[in-house]
């Protein structure tokens, strides 16, 4: 993936760049809003990582300009401003995700990779497939190896999210945000409990597991 980091904190930017490169991505860096806008316009990137507070042109305005130009590249906002209002501002400006500083690198990586899939967000999917598991989004049914699996509504949503991001690491915070719509940390291992319940339904009676735990990061659904 080609990723552009627009961030004025050089140390933070280089740390990100290094990490993303080690994960097999191409990562460019722009140190202020104007350079960032220029680079985003002239090169084709898969994801933009934009700091909110940038010299010369702030991140919100930058993304607004890009969106007004019809540029649809997914944008992940990075910001020290982490309240709900700030998040809403970021999403309104055209951001696709919002991550509050400081963040764990695993969280950033998972979110960046999750964005890559969204390049064609308008396509309507009715079926999801991972390995021998099949999800029918219209009939709201799940089958594995032809065997119907009964899920609670929330378990269905959880599995749907995991299947949409199959092969990618999905963090606990991402699940809380996208499946439960909670933007805080409930401290206890609630997500782990729900994931392990889902796992017992989809993996228990089958030879090879689909739902994997990624240590220190989260989960990954993979055939």
């Amino acid at each position: 993936m080609r990723i552009l980091i627009i961030e004025d904190d050089l140390e933070a930017a280089h740390y990100m760049q290094k990490g993303l490169r080690e994960s097999g991505h191409v990562a460019d860096h722009a140190s202020d809003g104007e350079i960032g806008l220029e680079m985003a316009r002239t090169s084709d990137y898969d994801v933009l990582i934009v700091d909110r507070m940038l010299p010369r042109l702030d991140g919100l305005t930058l993304v607004q300009i890009l969106r007004d130009d019809g540029e649809k590249t997914p944008v992940l906002f990075l910001s020290a401003l982490g309240e709900v209002d700030h998040r809403i501002e970021g999403l309104k400006a055209g951001g696709d995700d919002y991550l509050t500083k400081p963040y764990a690198f695993a969280e950033l990586l998972a979110r960046v990779e999750a964005q890559a899939r969204r390049r064609d967000p308008d396509a309507v999917q009715t079926h999801l497939n991972v390995g021998d598991m099949e999800m029918d989004l219209l009939a709201r049914t799940v089958k594995r190896a032809g065997q119907t699996i009964l899920l609670q509504p929330r378990e269905f949503r959880l599995l749907e999210f995991l299947m949409k991001h199959a092969g990618q690491v999905v963090t606990r915070t991402m699940l809380l945000e996208k499946v439960w719509d909670y933007h805080f940390d409930p401290q206890t291992n609630v997500i782990d409990v729900h994931v392990s319940r889902l796992r017992s339904k989809i993996d228990k009676e089958f030879d090879h597991p689909l739902l994997h735990t990624v240590r220190g990061a989260g989960y990954r659904l993979q055939a």
């Binding site: 400081p102 929330r154 439960w180 933007h183 805080f184 401290q187 609630v190």
Partner: protein, 479 residues
């Protein structure tokens, strides 16, 4: 304007001067009106009476010539009416009348004119100057007749009236100025007192308060509000200082731990063991995360306490939110060997922020699940109380909180000694408290559904919200 005395620069002074001027102006208008309706009426009446006389004389002349005129003059001159007559023959010689001669400043024939003449007043035995109004009639043969009317009495009345009005206007103006000055001086001095308080506070004396005179007037109200504001600021500053102290206290130990660990690794120098170093880094990372979490919680509580988001609360039905929370925590309870129940009443409305509510009760549930021993029970309830308030509560069968420590657990960083072994920042319930306060909800903490005999009385934490009415055309959506 700055060279003016302070009181003159006050708004009150300007208003008083304006009011006094307006008052004086209306006094002048009143004067004009009074003048018009007295002097004017008197003059018109005099002119009317004079016109009648002139007609009478003219018709007498037409019928009987000069002699007839003279006859009437003689008759009228003895009358008591305040009419003045002087009839002269050619050359100006006096013929008849009640005045010895034509007044020196005599009007020309034609129109009525004002003039003065001297008259002997038998009462005061002095000659007085009286005002009169009249006209000259010229008869053929150069005979002249002055017909006039003494207007002294009316004129004197008009004079008196206008003098009173002038005096009144002057008095109003003077009183206005004086009272304006006095009121403004008072106002300015009270304002100075308020300004002094503000200056002292700015200089750092947060204990200063504005003086009150308890009259309930606008300045008193301003002083009251200023004092309330200062108290709030003082309270917030104290809270900030307390938070700062607590943060310093609570952050110092993990920071020290982190520092020691890193330093210890560095000190090993050449003999650095990769496995050990990695473990140290992991622990350091965990500590850093814990620190950040504490830090975020403190910030969130501070924002809540500052009342930043208060205006955005809409009326919502908390039931869906509570169902969600129940669904989120029930499996956790089951895994911990606890019985979990949710009794949620639908169709109730409160003014609340969904996110904050979710966070607060997630903290309360988290606590309940963490501290309730295996085999216990945790219940989440949403229901309308008998007093009409809507209560959301969590009841458990855990160790509870002794009555004398209940207030303390809602303070920042307080964790009961026996729970120090559990992880957590000690900010969970402080956030719950801040959320309740931001919503104007009553926070109740009591024994739960446990049994005192077993040493686990349980804990019951409830937030009672004032019921809100739902706007008709607006439905709440839960995202």
């Amino acid at each position: 304007m700055n060279h003016l005395p302070a009181f003159m620069r006050t708004t009150t002074f300007r208003f008083t001067i304006l009011a006094a001027s307006l008052f004086a102006l209306s006094a002048f208008a009143l004067l004009a009106f009074v003048y018009e309706s007295t002097a004017g009426v008197f003059t018109r009446q005099t002119d009317l009476l004079l016109a009648r006389q002139i007609t009478e004389f003219k018709s007498a002349f037409n019928k009987g010539g000069i002699n007839a005129v003279n006859k009437i003059v003689v008759e009228h001159s003895t009358g008591r009416d305040p009419y003045l007559y002087v009839f002269t023959r050619p050359g100006g010689k006096f013929v008849s009348g009640n005045l010895s001669a034509l007044p020196s400043a005599m009007p020309k024939p034609g129109a009525n004119r004002r003039f003065t003449y001297k008259v002997y007043n038998p009462e005061t035995q002095a000659r007085e100057t009286h005002r009169a109004r009249g006209t000259l009639i010229r008869f053929p043969g150069d005979y002249m007749l002055l017909v006039a009317r003494d207007t002294e009495e009316e004129s004197a009345l008009v004079d008196r009236i206008s003098r009173s009005v002038w005096i009144a206007a002057g008095l109003v103006l003077a009183l206005g100025l004086i009272s304006g000055t006095l009121i403004s001086r008072r106002f300015a001095s009270r304002l100075d007192a308020l300004n002094n308080v503000a200056r002292d506070v700015m200089a750092g004396d947060l204990k200063r308060r504005a003086p009150r005179n308890n009259t309930g007037d606008e300045l008193d109200e301003l002083a009251e509000n200023l004092n309330a504001m200062l108290s709030q600021i003082e309270r917030l500053m104290a809270a900030t200082r307390h938070a700062g102290d607590s943060i310093a206290h609570d952050l110092r130990s993990p920071l020290t731990r982190m520092r020691n660990r890193l330093e210890g690794q560095l000190r090993t120098g050449e003999n650095l063991d990769a496995r050990e170093a990695k473990a140290a880094l992991h622990s350091t990372l965990d500590d850093a995360d814990q620190l950040l979490q504490t830090f975020n919680s403190v910030l969130r509580i501070a924002r809540l306490e500052a009342g930043e988001q208060r205006e955005t609360y809409n009326a919502i039905d908390p039931a869906p939110l509570m169902h969600d929370l129940a669904e989120l925590f029930e499996p956790v309870a089951e895994d911990s060997g606890l019985e979990f129940s949710a009794e949620i009443e639908d169709g109730l409305h409160i003014r609340a922020d969904q996110g904050l509510l979710a966070q607060a009760f997630s903290n309360v549930l988290d606590n309940a699940l963490k501290y309730t021993p295996k085999g216990g029970a945790v219940a989440l309830r949403l229901r309308k109380q008998r007093n009409g308030k809507v209560a959301i509560s969590v009841t458990d069968t855990g160790p509870g909180v002794p009555a004398d420590k209940r207030e303390a657990v809602f303070k920042r960083f307080v964790r009961l000694e026996e729970s120090r072994t559990q992880s957590g920042s000690g900010l969970g319930l402080a956030l719950v408290f801040a959320v309740a306060k931001a919503h104007g909800a009553e926070l109740i903490i009591d024994d739960g559904a446990g049994d005192h005999a077993t040493g686990n009385p349980g804990l019951h934490i409830a937030m009672a919200f004032p019921a809100a009415r739902m706007r008709k055309n607006k439905t709440s959506t839960l995202t």
